[in-house]
Amino acid sequence: MILPMNFDINGIKSCQRNRHPLLFIDSAFNVIPGEVASGIKCFSYNEWFFPAHFDDEPVVPGFIQVESLVQTFLMTFLSKVELRGKKTNFLGINNVKFKRKIVPGETLTIHATLESFRRGIATGKAVSFVGQQPACSADFVVSVPDILDQFKPKVMS
């Protein structure tokens, strides 16, 4: 039986290469490498984007919600010792759904599932909630170029 792992911000930084101001999740918990991960993102008005989005009605931009989801999804496989610190690229985002606005003072809880990881291509999904209320969800396809490159054909020059 694998005991779920927890990661603070330094632990997250040891797994993935995202950094401030584009590292959004604050902590990861219930992480079972190769299977699932959950993440927390607390939004305060100090976030750099709130004054601009929007000055009269601050709400979390959709792309930041999606990025928070994928950063939690990354923890499902970058938490594996052999993959820690590797860069990743988006290959696809599908079925993105936004269910509610997120405003300063709210906390997003994200649950991600890895459906497959084959030769450097990860597929899976993430759903998020504010309290018990669904916030947003999406399916992801993400590559790990370092792994992918180990399998590409040799090109004769």
């Binding site: 030769r119 450097g120 590559s143 490159d149 180990q150 054909p153 040799k154 090109v155």
Partner: protein
Amino acid sequence: MSNFLKYKEVFVQSFQYPGEVTELEYQCINEWDSVGHMQLMTALEDTFSIELDVDDIIEFSSFDKGITILAKYNVVIEK
């Protein structure tokens, strides 16, 4: 559907390529890059219920070469 038609269809679907796939080689079209290669390998494994070895994935450099490689997995593709 014959194995040859299945094999061709995997290339067509993986690369969404409208041209003649039998002449394709790795990196001869934008879609057959390292990502496309992995999508092609996965689609072939699913279609023919096989699991390709790493060396064969690396050797798989063209449509024709793939036919030779799949024969090692008892997938006979006759043109």
